[in-house]
């Protein structure tokens, strides 16, 4: 079930209506859990068992960790290890099995040791990277003493399985979400207007922008070698727009849906293409993942403590693993590596360049441009179907080398400009005062016009959200 499908709208209307019709808090939670599991079962009910197992394991681990004192370090480590082993094991088997096996087979074959590729076919369960990270964050928070374990299995199950964020985030922290579950929600406290506007914006981004430009990008990446340099630039820039609208669109709908049900998921995007540096980019792009990696990977690795080399090692490792989190392929590792490299260069630059110069408007503008170009280069490895295709595209994009003669329509530049204009309008929140202060009837009329625009511009062949595969 995709957020932009009609059946999701029906599903959400029922979930929303029944949720607010009920008064019994536990009943509401039970209802939301049922809805969440039904939502997931719409893909494949068999993998519900993984979510349930992950929930149960961390429930037990949480209670055990909570029962142990800080002095019982060894026992605490054992319990934490169980949680990490189980969750990372799930990821390892269901997401990375093929990657590791194929890599091992390639290495062995290169060494002259004959090895047969695995014939075992493992299906990647939707959203596994998201819910395993959430359950791990629960155990890790208890281990680090930031959270008290919950004895209410229903609460934990709802935290893990809450349908708006179940399959593609945002990755919610237990310490932020569990307290919300414990307190009965009140409809009167919901900012309905903000939620409705966010829902429409998310829908527009996904159905009207991302899905419409997907065929352009697909056309290019089907055979990058046959296109010229301009096409490579267009394809990369369009992919940047596509993935942003796709993922942030999903996040917007998720946050709005959760908001309408009374839960706050936090922000996940903050106009990342207006970031003036790569570090700024990661404060704006997939915020829930970058903060997760910072808190549970970068800092435990040593963070910014220690020598420069040690810090940069931590940074690079975090980004490489972040890349691998996105997909089980070397392309994603390279993507992470490129971002890691950029972050290291940025730190060096920050340490050496005078602050007055760095803070100057002109330099910040240049920073936005450089960051966007570098992010675009990294996106090539994210999108290309193979490493060869990625290198071909990168050659055309970075060095202007291409023997291809085909070209994407030049009219796409105008479309790109239009998308940028929309983005700028959104960035400056031009319409915010209007819809905030408008009388209800005018707001409702505006929503009606918005729905009309979305239905007209929605691509009829909706593609699944890109981040579902992660």
């Amino acid at each position: 079930m995709i957020f932009t499908e009609a059946r999701f709208l029906v599903f959400f209307a029922i979930a929303f209506g029944v949720h607010w019709m009920m008064r019994w808090h536990t009943g509401r939670k039970l209802w939301l859990l049922l809805c969440s599991y039904a939502f997931y079962a719409a893909w494949d009910w068999r993998f519900l068992s993984l979510i349930a197992a992950s929930t149960l394991v961390d429930y037990v681990v949480g209670i055990r960790l909570g029962a142990l004192t800080t002095e019982q370090t060894r026992a605490r480590r054992v319990w934490l290890f169980i949680s990490l082993l189980f969750n990372l094991g799930l990821l390892g088997v269901f997401k990375y099995y093929h990657f590791f096996m194929d890599s091992a087979v390639t290495i062995l074959n290169n060494l002259g040791i004959g090895a047969e590729p695995s014939t075992l076919q493992i299906i990647l369960p939707v959203g596994i990277s998201f819910y395993t990270f959430q359950t791990m964050s629960y155990s890790l928070d208890i281990y680090f003493g930031c959270l008290k374990p919950t004895r209410n299995l229903l609460d934990l199950a709802l935290f893990v399985g809450f349908f708006p964020q179940l399959v593609a985030g945002p990755i919610v922290r237990a310490r932020e979400f569990l307290p919300q579950i414990r307190v009965p929600r009140l409809f009167s406290r919901i900012d309905v207007r903000a939620c409705v506007v966010l829902f429409l914006i998310g829908f527009f981004k996904k159905a009207c922008v991302s899905d419409n430009i997907a065929p352009i990008v697909d056309t290019y990446f089907a055979d990058p070698a046959s296109f010229d340099v301009l096409s490579a630039w267009l394809a990369v820039l369009f992919y940047g727009a596509q993935i942003y609208c796709d993922f942030s669109g999903y996040s917007d709908i998720a946050i709005a849906s959760a908001g309408l049900l009374g839960y706050n998921l936090g922000d996940n995007f903050a106009f990342p293409y207006f970031a003036s540096s790569i570090q700024d980019f990661w404060h704006r792009w997939h915020i829930s993942l970058s903060s997760w990696l910072r808190d549970y990977l970068y800092i435990p690795l040593g963070g910014s403590r220690g020598s420069t080399l040690y810090r940069y090692r931590n940074l690079m490792l975090t980004m490489l693993l972040g890349g691998l989190w996105h997909g089980a392929a070397w392309r994603f590792v390279i993507w992470g590596g490129l971002h890691g490299l950029a972050l290291i260069v940025h730190r060096e630059w920050t340490a050496r360049a005078p602050e007055a110069f760095r803070m100057h408007v002109a330099w910040r503008g240049t920073g936005v441009l450089i960051t966007a170009i570098w992010v675009g280069l990294a996106w090539i490895f994210f999108r290309a179907p193979s490493l060869d295709a990625a290198l071909t595209t990168a050659g055309a994009y970075a060095f202007g080398r291409s023997s291809g003669t085909e070209t994407l329509p030049v009219s796409l530049i105008a479309l790109l400009m239009f998308i940028l204009l929309l983005h700028a309008i959104a960035y400056h929140r031009v319409f915010r005062p209007a819809w905030r202060g408008a009388p209800t009837w005018m707001f409702a009329g505006g929503v009606g016009i918005g729905v009309a625009i979305i239905t007209a511009f929605a691509a009829t062949e909706a593609a699944p959200f890109i981040y579902f595969q992660f």
């Binding site: 009837w441 929503v447 009309a452 007209a456």
Partner: protein
Amino acid sequence: MVDAPQKHQSRRQTMLRLGWLALLMIAATVSTVTSQRVELHQSGDRVLAWDRVSITNPREGRGQSFIAPLPWPHLSSHESASAGRLFEDGQILGGANASHQQIRDLGMGRYSLWKDQIRFSSSDGTDVTTNGRSYELGQPAVWISRLGLASSVVMWILWVWLLVALAMSLLQLRTLAQRAIESRRVVALIVGDALVIASVCLGGLWYAAHLHASGDRVLFEQTTSIDVFQHELGHSFTAQLDHMQWDGQDGTSPAVVLENGIPLAHADAGHQAIRTLGAGRFSFWSDRVRFSTTDNTNPFRNGNHYAVRGPWPMPSWCVPTLRITTMITLLLAVVVVGVSRFRELVTRRPTWQQALRHAVAVSSLIVGFVIGGNLLRGVLPKPLGNLADAKRIYFTRAERPFDTVFLGTSRVYREIAPERFEQRLQAQGISCRAFNFGVSGMRALESRSVLRELLNEDKNHDLKWVFIETQPILWELSDSNLLNERMTRWHDTETLLDLAELYLSDPELDRRAKARAIGRRALAFSYRMSNLGIGSNAIQRWIEPGTSFEDRYESEMGPRGDGFYPLDIYLQTPTAKVSQPYVKRNEYYRESPKRFDGWVRQQTERLAAADTPSPVMLDLLADLSSMVKSHGATPIFFVGPALYPRHDLRVAEEQGVIEHLFRFHEPTEEPELHRFEVRFDGGHLNHEGALLLTDRIADRFIELLQQGVIEQ
């Protein structure tokens, strides 16, 4: 007030009692299932284990049969079908209770237990005395049959026990219920909300079960091993499927036959093809499956394992039971929640200002949507729709205007060659420029909408002759047709209003059917009015100027771009996007010329037995005719050689509703067009047939022109 330890004790007792009841329930259910299975075993329908005894001293009988003494004469089938089965090397042979004639002539594992003898044949026609295989006679294991009485007794005891326990628990529940009623909170919050959740869940289950039962979406699949099968004829083997009917609607079965776990390739094959061609063809028919092996070997001996996989056969009571349970739960939920909220509503009744504000907001939303939608429709270019759009554009952009147009279904699109028509008329000194405006699947109501568009496009009134081929009115839109491009395309406001008028004026439809039909049309209308995807379509066309009607439909407009594309030629093109039913129909048709003869015979009989056409259809035909006439052109109706009786057109002609009607669907009058060789399938002609039909239409038309019946 109850103190805490007492409350805890009472809760523990309740839980224990509930656990005990659940245990009893499970035990009673298990014993019922056991008892039923034993009964099935006794009857031989589903045997759990076999008692076996060797067949000794077989001697050669006539043909392929062999005769041996029957070790258990009580299994003889001379009075009723025997539960005894023959095992060849431990595998059951499926041909039990066969006639002695069949055993002699066909063999292949057929056998009969007759009085004190067993007459049987080997599974592959070899000599049982020399083929080295063991033959055993089996009967349902006696020790299991003896369990029958015991299991029934246990079952009854458990059920009585359960009922008593339930009754006692209910008495206790009364006390609990009284306590609960005292606490309004419990009733209002827990019971009400639980009922709401239950009703929604049950509703979901009901819907899922409905989808599964209707075959729209299979929820669970079941794979059943074919252990017992028998030879039918040729390469065909059959097996009985217990409680499974997978023959499917419209002749397409959702199930497959697996050979060593791999699905056989040719599903829904004709029985004759299975027998004569084999090679993995199979078919589900009622509660049986007919199949052949991939290499036409004998499945008794080829060592392969056969199984069938298909939708889980949901018991017929499931859907209605779930429906009723959902309704009852929903009703209870409404009552309980309603009662519990009534007081709240009374005390916090919304003011009329609030109610008005909400109503205004909802109205504004709808008005905003409608205004926005209309503005966009006015601003954005028309979408790249279906073939009708492409044809309309070809029609309007033609350098030399068309004066003759053929309007209709695939019977026009695939069967009328404008070039041929022009040449035929040219030979008689009549000049014309013809265009094929046939669109697959177009029905009578659609024809009117398309005709209206076409006449509007013919601004200079160049059209002189409009040939119209119509299909009967499609009253009920099927799910698959409801929201497709073609349907939504023509459901504009004017058409919807026309349709509503037609439906309301039809005396044959009851009120419910009218409401349903109009509702479904309104859905298609709303789909169109929501402009779904027209902006996206415009963007795509703006980005890629090459994506035009011409480019997109060039392959479907026919080699000459005059809208004619015969099916047999179209199917040979690599870009053919013809729907699978066409291919299947063609295959089915090609299988047997005799079948076509049968259809032709049926058609002749149906034509003889005329029935009264719908008055609405007659009105519609009159409407089509007057539309063309008021445009200054001449309407000529025709019926292609499809095998459908069209009494409505005949009656319309007799009553003077339409003036000119060319009929080609009567086999006795047009035998040339009803030959097997000129047809693609039962409903369409092939290229040769299309040219023949075009000639026939042209000839009749020339005749009328020369007689002066139609003005040149």
